[in-house]
């Protein structure tokens, strides 16, 4: 994997690609577009089929960011891959719960918990 990623820190752990968001606030439209492109590239170009999104640095995200995650989830499923989310702080988890997206996404407490679940 030689692609430069501006919005993401990528860390392979076994056959799982752990992705940590660099932005603390995922809210600006241009950033969300770039973020989406980078995530989609991981799946469609780099062939990552086990993806863990680490939200430990994220303290805010807008509903537009949720939309990108939904699209990512669809792409993962289309490619036969598995997506998990981890380290989501309580306020942001509340957003997933209110929107029932906690039923769509596999959300785990932390990285270790998520990696064990793959």
């Amino acid at each position: 994997m030689t692609t430069e990623y501006r919005r993401l820190d990528i860390k392979p752990v076994g056959d799982v690609t752990v992705v940590r968001f660099r932005d603390h606030k995922i809210i600006e439209d241009i950033n969300i577009q770039e973020l989406g492109q980078e995530l989609f590239q991981l799946v469609e170009t780099d062939g990552c089929d086990r993806l863990l999104l680490d939200f430990s640095a994220v303290d805010f995200l807008s509903s537009a960011a949720l939309g990108k995650l939904i699209t990512l989830d669809k792409k993962m499923k289309a490619h036969g891959g598995t997506l998990k989310l981890a380290n989501i702080r309580p306020e942001i988890y509340e957003v997933f719960a209110i929107t029932r997206l906690n039923r769509l996404f596999d959300i785990r407490q932390d990285e270790a918990d998520a990696l064990a679940a793959f």
Partner: protein, 141 residues
């Protein structure tokens, strides 16, 4: 529900162009004020989320990001309540006719959660003028 006797200790009234970056600067002013008044993290997060969704609705969906159209942004803060009003110049919509984004057949739609999030995270939400005028209130926890 705040009345004319509500003790507003801070207010901000601006008319801005239909640019999200401009609207978010006003929102940052409001959030900084709430932080200075020691509002708790959850309340500030709630106001941030709901008002950002309302700004997006007004600027992007209402005014179609048209530079010719303006948005009126007003906020008031009292010791116990924050009130935000946003008015756009768009064609309006029926906030009561929105599909449920949590319905199984809509869960995977990438859009359509903004109004739901506003209603969930604020204490009170009102729509006027066919959806072009929104009032958001949050009672301090």
């Amino acid at each position: 529900m705040p009345t004319s006797k509500t003790n507003w200790t801070w207010q901000l009234d601006r008319t801005i162009p239909s640019e999200l970056v401009v609207g978010r600067k006003l929102l940052d002013e409001l959030l900084a004020k709430l932080e200075s008044l020691k509002w708790n993290r959850h309340d500030i997060f709630s106001v941030h989320l709901a008002v950002d969704e309302a700004l997006t609705n007004a600027i992007v969906h209402g005014n179609k990001s048209d530079a010719e159209k303006q948005v009126r942004f007003s906020c008031r803060v009292s010791p116990d309540v924050v009130r935000v009003e946003i008015v756009d110049e768009g064609g309006g919509f029926d906030p009561h006719a929105l599909p449920d984004p949590t319905a199984p057949d809509r869960l995977e739609c990438p859009c359509g959660r903004g109004v739901m999030l506003m209603r969930s995270f604020m204490s009170h939400v009102e729509f006027h003028k066919h959806g072009c005028h929104i009032v958001l209130e949050k009672k301090r926890s």
